[in-house]
């Protein structure tokens, strides 16, 4: 430990007996989420001084996040809870936005679409004048090492880049206190390391921080103080980080906070974890370490296979075999295609080219039922696999109600789920859900078990139980394949590693061989997350630090950078059309009015006028070429031919008008006329719709609604945050369908089936919205700035000019004239 560190720890003693006034102090506080419910936190005494960095540790569900949210005033403001005891904040923590909060899930803490809007959101809430925003955005992005184009869509970012952006968004607010709540949970080792470097740099800059982190090894030297929680939600011990962790190591193992194969920190700055390789806490049978060399057909063999989605090639040139009875770990950077490869193995994704053989037979010749008799597959999100509403039914794979079969009871006991058989699978904790999904995999015997990130989000205890289960299966001769970021797991359990990176399989061999190949580890982002941050990092000069960030950036973000480059090129190539420069809310209102007016077109010329108007607006103000409009309109025209026929064949025929009978239809000239008029005027509305979708920026539209039409920011920005998740749903839907493909039995009643399909998707959506709303409120989106445009500033300049009124009124007037003047 450096001198600097020693001084710092000395200047920030633990407990409440300090000279300086603490930023916040919490005395004898208990928190429960509902009156009468068991307390999440009990008898908590905690205080925090300026410049201090505190690490919170404890088993899952011990209330670490609850304490963090209490410190951020999210409890009880955004998350309802009953708080007893005394919580005091100093003057530096009074305003909303004084606490910056970075959450675990990168997808659930953003509410805008583009980088700069995202960072500016917190500034808008704090009413920072627009003129100051670009500087503050720039410095926050730089400070967080997030060197990305301001107009980039962050939905395309990797997990690491998203977390850096989240940190930048929090830093832009210049928070007195920064809270990081498991910021690396979704990240690969390199991205994790980048976030840790960030934390080190922030500490060096004197930022007060509370950090919750499961992968804490690297952070130990840079956190002043650690607070240990036990599973009852009480503080077990607190004190100087390294000392306490070293002394309480056995307790941490026993509480399930750290895996039992880990070793306590010996001394500061040692990086033993990467270097050691021979030592083994769980002895493995040395005989099968090389994998069985049986002469039988391999479990899987791939020849020149390629995985591609649309025109995006994910992995190519995949040629490999997996022997029966092997234990394979697939590792690699975030977004490299680990899950895609696993899906290819299970036949859930098809190879674009090349071949995949399962047990010597081409995988496409396997019937799904037979294939999933051989293969058991576990998705990253266990909820996708749940079909039934009770744990007992789920495990039995049919509705059993109260009569739980013996086999199911045995599984319940084996996986620590006894007593939960009447509960809903969705109401279980993360660990219980995972155990349930693995338990149902074991219900029937399979030859191969495939797991997508099985240990993700699990505490050490559940991880150990799962891994031991896999080891038993492996000992019974089953083939195990899993994807993971956890290199410790690879070292302890895998017999073979496939490194997926750079669009292919970079390495295939034993874990020992991989750990000897430093080049591969660097290329696949596998090093780093456990390497202790040494004290030299803490005092690193800023420029040197930035260089490191840059090199890391170059390594991690190349595909996105390319995408951005392409996007910005496209932007430069296309100047903004008048429609894009007009006020989108007024534009929308006038188009909607015209669409309603068009309903009164009853003659062919009137209908044609209602069709010509949007066509004119698209070409004159939207600068869309007739060819482009035709291409966009073509699919609709085909549909409207069907409508036309409906009218031709079904229209009421006035007495005396000629009609013809064909089969059971009555065709009339009246019907032809009706069909033409109605189809053409509807196509006019379609054109307006196309214009809106292709030309109007949704962010600007929402800002305009707030500013010009007095829509409360809560509704406009809340809607934007909700719309942001649209692209996520299509991928969720695909995964859900795949998961259903695996289950051979569907629940009987079709209505029930709709509900069982809807449940996982909706539950995902509802949880996401709760998290998004909390994250938005954590960034100061509460009270006046959320209620009216008067009390916030705007990064996007969306104003109303006289020409907006002229254009809008002209569109409405032309539409009206088209009805009145033409007969």
């Amino acid at each position: 430990m450096s001198m600097q560190l020693a001084q710092r720890s000395a200047s920030s003693p633990t407990g409440t007996s300090q000279l300086a006034e603490p930023l916040l102090s919490i005395r004898d506080v208990s928190v429960r989420y509902e009156q009468g419910a068991p307390a999440i936190l009990s008898e908590i005494d905690f205080s925090l001084c300026e410049g201090e960095t505190v690490l919170l540790m404890g088993p899952s569900g011990c209330g670490k996040s609850t304490l963090a949210m209490l410190c951020a005033k999210l409890i009880p403001q955004s998350v309802e809870a009953v708080v007893e005891g005394q919580v005091e904040f100093s003057a530096a923590l009074q305003a909303s936005g004084d606490v910056g909060y970075v959450f675990q899930d990168p997808d659930a803490q953003f509410c805008m679409l583009q980088v700069a809007d995202e960072v500016a959101f917190g500034l808008e809430n704090r009413q920072v004048p627009r003129a100051q925003m670009p500087d503050r955005i720039a410095s926050a992005l730089e400070q967080a090492g997030s060197l990305v184009p301001w107009t980039a869509q962050h939905a395309l970012f990797s997990g690491g880049m998203k977390q850096k952006l989240a940190i930048a968004s929090a830093l832009a607010q210049k928070p007195t206190l920064l809270i990081l709540d498991e910021p690396t949970a979704n990240l690969d080792p390199l991205s994790t390391r980048q976030v840790f470097d960030q934390i080190a740099a922030l500490r060096a800059a004197g930022q007060t921080m509370i950090v919750i982190e499961h992968k804490f090894d690297a952070l130990l030297p840079i956190m002043d103080r650690v607070v240990l929680f036990d599973h009852t939600g009480r503080i077990y011990r607190e004190g100087p980080t390294l000392d306490v962790v070293r002394e309480e190591w056995d307790w941490l193992v026993q509480e399930g906070v750290v895996a039992q194969w880990k070793q306590p920190p010996e001394c500061a700055g040692d990086d033993r974890i990467l270097k050691q390789s021979g030592h083994s806490a769980i002895p493995l049978d040395p005989q099968d370490s090389s994998g069985p060399l049986s002469p039988t057909v391999p479990a899987l063999s791939l020849a020149a296979a390629q995985i591609a989605y649309g025109d995006r090639i994910i992995l190519s040139d995949l040629t490999l075999t997996i022997a029966k009875g092997d234990f394979v770990a697939i590792v690699g950077p975030n977004g490299a295609g680990k899950s895609s490869l696993l899906q290819l193995f299970a036949g859930l994704t098809k190879a674009r080219t090349g071949s995949v053989h399962l047990l010597g037979r081409p995988i496409r010749e396997w019937k799904p039922r037979a294939r999933f008799g051989v293969i058991a597959y576990s998705f990253q999100n266990p909820e996708f696999q749940f079909i039934y509403e009770r744990v007992g039914d789920e495990l039995a794979n049919r509705i059993v109600g109260e009569q739980v079969p013996e086999r199911v009871q045995a599984l319940l006991n084996q996986f620590g789920l006894e007593g939960l058989e009447q509960h809903s699978p969705f109401a279980l904790s993360q660990g219980q859900k995972r155990r349930l999904s693995v338990a149902s995999m074991l219900r029937d015997e399979h030859d191969m078990y495939l797991f997508d990130e099985p240990t993700f989000g699990q505490d050490a205890r559940t991880q150990l139980a799962l891994l031991e289960q896999m080891r038993q299966l492996h000992e019974q001769g089953k083939t195990i394949i899993l994807t993971t970021h956890d290199m410790d797991l690879v070292r302890r359990y895998a017999k073979r590693v496939l490194v997926v990176a750079e669009g292919g399989v970079l390495f295939s061999g034993t874990p020992e061989a991989l750990f000897a190949r430093e080049d591969i580890q660097v290329r696949a982002h596998l090093r780093d997350d456990q390497l202790r941050l040494d004290s030299s990092d803490v005092g690193l000069p800023k420029s040197a630090y930035r260089d490191r960030q840059r090199s890391a950036q170059n390594l991690s973000s190349s595909p996105i950078d390319q995408a951005d480059e392409r996007a910005s090129k496209r932007d430069r190539a296309r100047r903004k059309s008048p429609v894009q420069r007009l006020n989108p809310a007024w534009m929308f209102a006038s188009m909607l009015a015209a669409a309603v007016i068009s309903l009164s077109a009853h003659t062919l010329p009137q209908a044609l006028a209602q069709f010509a108007l949007p066509l004119f607006v698209m070409m004159a103000l939207g600068w869309m070429s007739p060819w482009r409009i035709l291409k966009l309109l073509a699919p609709f025209v085909i549909l409207y031919i069907l409508y036309f026929w409906t009218y031709v064949a079904n229209s009421a025929i006035p007495p005396g008008a000629p009609s013809y009978h064909v089969l059971f239809y009555t065709i009339s000239w009246v019907g032809v006329h009706n069909g033409l008029v109605l189809s053409i005027r509807m196509l006019g509305s379609v054109l307006f719709g196309i214009l809106f979708v292709t030309q109007i920026d949704i962010t600007e539209f929402m800002v305009a609604l707030t500013r010009s039409f007095k829509v409360p920011p809560r509704f406009a920005y809340g809607a934007l945050a909700g719309l942001r998740v649209v692209p996520l749903f299509s991928s969720e839907w695909t995964k859900l369908r795949q998961a259903r493909q695996i289950r051979s039995r569907e629940s009987a009643a079709p209505v029930l089936r709709v509900i069982t399909y809807a449940l996982p998707l909706l539950s995902q959506g509802i949880r996401m919205s709760e998290r998004v709303a909390i994250a938005m409120e954590a960034r100061g989106f509460v009270g006046p700035p959320a209620m009216s445009a008067q009390h916030r500033t705007f990064y996007r300049e969306v104003n109303v000019h006289w020409w907006d009124y002229v254009v809008s009124l002209s569109i409405v007037a032309l539409s009206l004239l088209g009805i009145v003047l033409i007969h």
Partner: protein, 187 residues
């Protein structure tokens, strides 16, 4: 009764899911229509799920209308053949559903009010259909279309969302929303 930010975001997200589903039904619409016009009325309720589901889960004034509008917006953004007219449908259907809940001051979300809201959505949809082109058909077809739409609305726009909402509630997913809270108080 006040909207929380979480209610707003969940309203939008549920409406987005429903809007996506509506877009799928849109493909069926012209095909069914071509054979016997009133037959379309039987399926109309499938377009009212958003207002019923969102109103049932968050139980706020305006929830049914806003949800249906957002769902219509998503449906049209995904390329529905109704273009901007979607918003007209969304508005009338949403108003229909909202009226049912308003009649009970947004305090009763029972099977009865849910069925009524679905049926009134159906009334809104039928009127829109009439003005958008339905008026050219025979009186029998128009009358049957109205009746079928009301029934279908009550079932798909009232009963189905209630079943889904109850399932979500049993699963403990909506415990922080009005539906979950009310259910706990009643226990």
């Amino acid at each position: 009764m006040k909207w929380k930010l979480r209610d707003i975001v969940v309203m939008v997200i549920l409406a987005v899911v429903c809007g996506g589903i509506y877009r799928l039904w849109d493909v069926l619409y012209p095909l069914i229509n071509t054979t016997w016009v009133p037959s379309q009325g039987m399926l109309n309720g499938l377009w009212f799920i958003a207002s019923g589901l969102v109103a049932y889960v968050i139980q706020r004034p305006g929830a049914a209308l806003l949800a249906e509008l957002v769902a219509a917006m998503i449906e049209q953004a995904l390329g529905s053949q109704f273009g901007l007219q979607n918003l007209v449908w969304g508005f009338t259907q949403g108003v229909g559903a909202e009226v049912a809940f308003a009649l009970f001051a947004w305090r009763r979300f029972t099977l009865g009010t849910m069925l009524l809201s679905g049926a009134l959505s159906g009334l809104g949809a039928s009127l829109t259909w009439y003005f958008q082109g339905g008026s050219v058909y025979t009186h029998t077809d128009i009358l049957l279309y109205f009746i079928f739409t009301l029934i279908s609305g009550a079932l798909f726009g009232g009963l189905l969302p209630k079943l889904i909402g109850d399932a979500l509630n049993r699963a403990g997913i909506v415990r922080n929303f009005a539906l979950g809270r009310v259910a706990r108080v009643q226990k």
